[in-house]
Structures are given as C-alpha cells and as structure tokens.
C-alpha cells in the first residue's frame, strides 16, 4: 500500500516565524509535490521535485521554499510565515508515465498563522 506521511498534522505559528512541514514517502516514487488547499481554489501546486536534490516551482511558489534531501523526504519551508499562508497543505508522490499516473496524498497539515 502506497504511503505518504506528513508531519506535523496541525501547526500554529506566529507571523514572521519559520515553519517547516515534512513529508516522507515509502512508494519509491521519483516525483513529490506540495499543494495547498483553500476553499474556492481547489488544490494549488506550490513546489515539486523530480528526485533527490531537485526542486521546481509550481504555480504559487512565492513565500515558500522546498528541500528534497533524499528520495523519501520532501520538506516545505516558510521562512517568514504570514497569515495568508493559513491553509491545509498536502504532500503527494507519484510517477508520471506510469500505468496510472496516480498521485498518492498524505493526510494533510493544517497550518494556522496568527
């Protein structure tokens, strides 16, 4: 069974603080993704990665950084958190070109920036 694990599940941060969201996958997928979900916007891509050492900007990268130190781990970093970054963040893994091109999502991290 595909597995994507996110931590923490819930986070309260202060404006201007640094926040790191972590993601671990045991699917051995090359690609990993960070999405945020907000009412009325669906799932929007922040950053993604093709493999260890690579990070690419998605559709809404401003205010976020990403790090892929290994095949299994992909982090999302908010250097200076702002209230507008209050959202639910989903990590996903997948391999394009595979038989299904399916994304497997983690359980999500609910972030509140006060």
């Amino acid at each position: 069974e595909a597995a994507v694990t996110q931590s923490p599940r819930n986070k309260v941060a202060v404006t201007g603080g640094k926040v790191t969201l972590s993601c671990n996958q045991t699917n051995n997928h090359n690609n990993m993704y960070w999405y945020r979900q907000d009412t009325g916007h669906g799932l929007r891509l922040i950053h993604y990665s093709y493999g260890a050492g690579s990070t690419e900007k998605g559709d809404i990268p401003d205010g976020y950084k990403a790090s892929r130190p290994s095949q299994e781990n992909f982090s999302l970093i908010l250097e200076l958190a702002t209230p507008s970054q209050t959202s639910v963040y989903f990590c996903a893994s997948g391999d394009p070109g595979g038989s299904q091109n399916t994304l497997y999502f983690g359980a999500g991290t609910r972030l509140s920036v006060l």
């Binding site: 799932l43 929007r44 997948g94 394009p96 299904q100 091109n101 359980a107």
Partner: protein, 112 residues
Amino acid sequence: QQQVRQSPQSLTVWEGETAILNCSYEDSTFDYFPWYWQFPRESPALLIAIRPVSNKKEDGRFTIFFNKREKKLSLHITDSQPGDSATYFCAAWGNSGTYQRFGTGTKLQVVP
C-alpha cells in the same frame, strides 16, 4: 490562470438519481484526466481516470464521458448514494507530464 475548470461548485441530488459533474480544460497537450474524491477531513484519493484515446471510461456506477474536440469531460454517478457525498476534483497532467493541475472541485451532497 485556471487551466482546469469545474462546474457546478456544489450539487445536491436525491438518493438514486444520477449526478453529473462537469470539467473543462484549456491545454490541448493534457493527456491524462484523473478524478479524485475527497471526504471531509480526509485527503484526496483517485476515483477514476481517462486518457484521450477513449471517449468513455466506466467503473461501476462511475462513468467519465470525454469530448476531446470541445475539451470537456463529465463524471456521471448513477444511482447516487449518501456515501458518495464528497468533493470531486477533476485534474489533468501538465504539458511535460511532470505535475497535475486541479480544478476547484464540485461538492456533491446526496440526500436520502
């Protein structure tokens, strides 16, 4: 810009009716269209998917109809059940196949 659009934003049907969820896209190079469903407080999960080589994909009560010329597709849920109540996302793979773009979702409620 929203490259994948969904309508309606919300939909309520009675149990046993057919629910029809619509999706359209702009980029003609998209070549894989998955639908995900998401239950409250859970993460999205793949429901059914189609490639443009087909104009129909069926899986039990769920059917995708695909119109490549008009860049439109729809998800039909026949004999809708209360357990089908969820938010449904239409998605499409990006130009180079490196990432999926999602629509804004349709929230379906099936009333007993």
